[in-house]
Subunit: 698 residues, 2 copies
């Protein structure tokens, strides 16, 4: 092996180890220039630029023309939003597209032609870019007056293709689609049979008084379908059956049967199916990550071993420790891990490493970082030691919780007492004085704790950080209040001054105090378990949240295009209904507001209001699709993941006693460590020999 | 052993085997007279009388004074319900109580004093009876005019204590209560913190225009709590945030946070916890049933073996086959099983049976009954054979499905066309002619199938039974129509005649045709799986349904007592609201109608209407308790069971290929057969030695 070859091998090993650390695929070009490009492409700055570009192109929707990002959502009061001049957002868009073009070309080059043909995601990426650029040209040639902009709906694709987790999750969801489709088909059959039944049951009669049910809900086929579909979401639950029920109680049997079968059985069946499909999802994904890591390490070993002069008949390959040191110095990785590896390498003090030893060395990567809190300061004075014992004791923390509870209760009492008072009658003295006292106590508590534990140890606990930060903010607010409005005294009702009125200041302080009360969470065992489960869930849900964001974005943009100008301020409708119209019109333009409307109640309201409007049919289909995807499928996915996470967590929680002073950095990998299977040597070598660019000697 | 002893032992063995068959406990007295009493008590007629008594006492609520079992539920139109004279329902009640007194005395005597002291259920039973009888005496001494009848709320207890499955399930639910309570506590903390936040956020302002949110939803502490609690059920989802949202979009963050945390996380956490707790529930219950069966058989073996003269030093005990024959003749059991056991006993042809052989003999009880359909008739004529091939082929069944679909579609088309016609314009000729043709086809199909398969084979398939019955009813209806109204011809619009008008007849026929379309279910694989899962679920859910019934009953009776006379017909409220009042008033009096109101929407409506009424506070608490129990806990239990059942089923479905001609009688026992553990001999013997009345020689 020549010197250049040596350098190449070292660089290959470096890149493979970095791949292993980041759980990346190793199927990329491995010549010197490509390796340089590869490391550059995956460098922090490049990836950061790419993420920024994606964020910018997605955020453009908030400033582009039909956006409605104003403070109020009421069409009657709000000012017309700022309209950017033609060419401004378009030129930002072009910049983003150029970045994406560079991204896709580098990516395609790095994996090589053979792999490129297999990667449908990359081809879709290129196609999306071409369509977007063509649409952009059309847009500019019409001077931004064209009505349909396809490229907007395509935008979330850029987010999707950039995350391997999201692509994996999408594949998983895709594989459950057949079963979900079966249940949805079943639901459709259920719905249509019951619709026919309902139309026969609640037919028009000769007596006009008797057919209220027919007039209200089952006038014709679309009406009947809608009524029962909305009943499936329980949004019109008692209303739909009242006319029939007050005619004859026996009619309720029909509605009970429909609800029990549809809502209780079929809807929950969907949950069961999705849970059943996703039971192994997390485990499988962690397992494949582990395989990628082991494969990267093994590939590094193989290329490093070819540096060694091995006898042709040798059964085992070895790696020189010196080469490994060289590689380790070049690898970008967590410094704690790197030092641990170098340390254990020095301790073992052998010249050559076998494949197993090499693999074992890098197991440091899988280990959980054990976080040891710094020690408390050791005081010499006997008095100080006693103080330290008293204020470092957990009972002092409990006392703090009790005081916080007392504060909450006092605020609650004042709120109840002041509930019906006019703002001008309100006396802020009592609350001001109380809060002043409590905030002083909080400050004292913080200082005493710092005294007992030392600043470093105090700060190393998340609960203390939370506590300290809030206490600091409260103190600043209180000082600001006193500076502006003076000290509280009876009849303390100063006029408005400065940025916030006194009342607003007091409210803000109270809210922060309520928020600070959350510090009790770690002290309650079950609460702590629930909260850590939820935090874990949030980590595991990132991919799902991303996909949801993609769906949201596509729906919001489609909604804007479909219903542009469909809703205008109306004066002749009762206020409450008008507000619904306003809300639904907002809903289409402001996709953030959609978040809290997974309930399909809105289909009902909208279609009730727009029932004489041509647009209603489209709105119905749009909202039914939205309900199916966001409410039915996504919520069920969420439940499935929560079940999976919680059950694992619960099992672990019951088995082991939590250690008091050591905090584990929880990761999904660790949750499943006991059940993960290590890949065998044969599997690794087989995969290595399939590598399109790396040609091993053996 | 004397002759009397011999008879005693034989009788003991008979009773133990019957215990094993019925999965009953064997801890009862075993002397001759007690055995006779025991068999009499568990005889079909006695148990039937007991069930009847329970049904009667529960059904009394429908005819007792505050009942409202009338056709219409509308207070304005309905006739006053029939009021039974004082003493009528009371004497029926007394009869029921006497039966219960007999029941409890026999039960207590049979298990003996020692066991009685351990059985809290029996003591509660006695206490309930004493309280009920005392209440009954009070009732009569007031001539039925007393206001509160405690015994009515206690009635469902009689149902509860009579079913061992329900008692077991209740125990299970009881053991999940601590975790459920934790989550409910968490929900309460969540709710109260957010309520305080909301009250601070949406406080009263000096500008009357700005505090719509305060006026509408957060006026004081109870109002705020209610608003947010109802938001947790999503019943007031968009409405509650609209005033704030139209003031400033940022307020929606508060509602989004509340909904996501409360509704998405905490509510689903409840599902996860209940599922986690109930994962093993079915398995455990089946396992304990298996233990009871093995124990009963073993006890029978032990008493029979003491009939044999065994050498004192013999290691193994044996049972004489002759004795066993004697026992088998006396045992009441499924005749198929009995014959199978006798057959295998004759085949083995040995004189004495060891414990293992004895146990093995009775494993016939666990076996699934394999149902073999009778064979088709064998025709000699070549033509008949061909006919048989054609009409016995599955494609002929598919053709029938296609025809049924065509019929459904034709009905649908007619319904859509007739949707807006006046009843007087409607021409029933078209539908009449079409249905006539289709019903003739159905008749023909049935006859041809009977020809091809033979009557016995045809009738042995459930789908054919369903088909045949409906075809028969349709035929009768059609003939009746023609007999009364003559054959259809254009302009066929006869006047009303006989019981039903022609239009009602046609509607009934159409409904039956829609119902008959369900015969396609077994032909669709996924649908069949879902339907069998649901049927299994219904079997396993009987205990849960019973407990739900108990809760319903108690709530309904409490509701009647609490709100008696609270709602009267009002003329000055808008009709829609009045209907809600009517519905809610009915809801309290008619517990069947409660079934389809698990949604808490009603809390909202009721409290909105009664908000100036003193009764509102109580109504709120009543309905919140109802919502928690029926909607939150019961629905989650249901989901947990469905998940459990479905996942087991799904796994089995994927593993084995269904056999075409053999139908398995599905039972829970069989579902878990692969994972059940056989109890060891030591466990059985230890339990036998703990028997309070049976004293084994060894």
């Amino acid at each position: 092996a020549t010197g250049a070859d040596n350098d190449l091998y070292i660089n290959q090993a470096v890149v493979f180890i970095e791949d292993a650390i980041q759980y990346r695929s190793i199927n990329h070009r491995v010549d010197s220039k490509s390796l340089w490009l590869y490391r550059w492409y995956y460098s922090r700055i490049c990836q950061w630029i790419l993420s920024l570009t994606i964020t910018v192109i997605l955020a453009l929707a908030f400033v582009e023309t039909p956006s409605s990002l104003t403070v109020t959502s009421d069409v009657r009061y709000r000012h017309p939003p700022w309209e950017p001049p033609c060419g401004l957002t378009e030129s930002i868009e072009l910049l983003c597209f150029l970045v994406f073009v560079v991204d896709v070309s580098v990516k395609s080059y790095l994996i090589g032609w053979e792999e490129f043909c297999k990667t449908k995601w990359l081809m879709a990426y290129i196609l999306t870019l071409i369509v977007s650029l063509a649409d952009w040209v059309v847009s500019l040639s019409f001077f931004c007056t064209e009505t349909v902009r396809i490229r907007r709906i395509l935008r979330p694709f850029f987010l999707l293709q950039n995350s391997s987790m999201m692509k994996k999750t999408l594949k998983s969801i895709n594989s459950t689609l057949p079963e979900m489709a079966s249940v949805v088909l079943l639901l459709a059959v259920h719905l249509s049979l019951f619709t026919m039944f309902a139309m026969l049951l609640f037919a028009r009669t000769k007596d006009g008084q008797q057919d209220k049910e027919w007039v209200g809900y089952f006038r014709n086929l679309p009406d009947s379908l809608t009524s029962l579909l909305v009943l499936l979401t329980t949004a019109n639950n008692p209303d739909v059956m009242i006319p029939a029920y007050s005619k004859n109680r026996a009619y309720s049997i029909f509605f009970i049967l429909f609800t029990v079968l549809g809502n209780l059985f079929l809807m929950n069946l969907l949950t069961a199916i999705i849970y059943n499909q996703f039971r192994g999802y997390l485990l499988k994904s962690v397992q494949s990550s582990l395989f990628r890591r082991r494969l990267g390490i093994r590939a590094a070993f193989e290329v490093l071993s070819s540096l060694e002069e091995t006898p042709a008949n040798a059964q085992e390959l070895f790696v020189n420790v010196g080469d490994l040191f060289q590689v380790l110095q070049k690898v970008e990785m967590d410094s704690r891990c790197k030092q641990a590896i170098i340390r254990s390498l020095k301790i073992s003090s052998c010249d050559r490493l076998s494949a197993a030893q090499f693999q074992k060395l890098f197991e440091e990567l899988d280990k959980e970082a054990i976080k040891q809190h710094p020690h408390s300061p050791e005081y010499r004075s006997h008095f100080m030691q006693k103080l330290q014992f008293v204020f470092g004791h957990s009972y002092f923390g409990y006392l703090g919780n009790v005081v916080a509870l007392a504060n909450i209760i006092s605020i609650c009492v004042v709120l109840v007492m002041d509930a019906d008072k006019q703002p001008s009658e309100r006396d802020d003295f009592f609350l001001g004085a109380i809060n002043c006292f409590f905030i002083l106590y909080y400050l004292l508590e913080m200082l005493l704790k710092i005294l007992a534990m030392g600043l470093k140890r105090y700060w190393s606990y998340p609960s203390n950080r939370f506590d300290g930060l809030l206490t600091g903010i409260l103190l600043i607010l209180e000082i600001a209040t006193f500076a502006v409005y003076g000290f509280p005294h009876p009849g303390w009702r100063p006029e408005f001054m400065g940025l916030l009125s006194l009342w607003d200041m007091v409210r803000l302080v109270n809210m922060l105090i309520v928020f600070r009360f959350l510090r009790i969470i770690p002290n309650m065992k079950f609460m702590a378990l629930v909260v850590t489960t939820l935090l874990d869930l949030v980590k595991n849900l990132r991919a799902f949240a991303g996909i949801l964001l993609v769906v949201f974005y596509a729906f919001a943009i489609t909604g804007i295009m479909l219903f542009k100008g469909a809703v205008v301020p109306m004066g002749n409708i009762r206020p409450s209904l008008q507000q619904v119209v306003l809300l639904t019109s907002k809903k289409k333009c402001d996709f953030l507001a959609l978040l809290n409307h997974f309930q399909a109640i809105i289909i009902y309201h909208l279609c009730y209001l727009l029932s004489f409007n041509l647009i209603c049919r489209w709105a119905k289909i749009y909202f039914i699709a939205w309900w199916l995807i966001s409410s039915v499928i996504w919520v069920n996915l969420f439940v499935a993941l929560l079940l999976e996470n919680f059950i694992h967590k619960w099992d672990r929680h019951c088995h082991r006693e939590p250690l008091s002073d050591i905090e584990y950095q929880r990761t999904v990998e660790l949750m499943f460590r006991d059940v993960l299977e290590e890949p065998t040597e044969e599997e690794l070598m087989e995969r290595l020999h399939q590598h399109p660019h790396l040609h091993l000697c053996r």
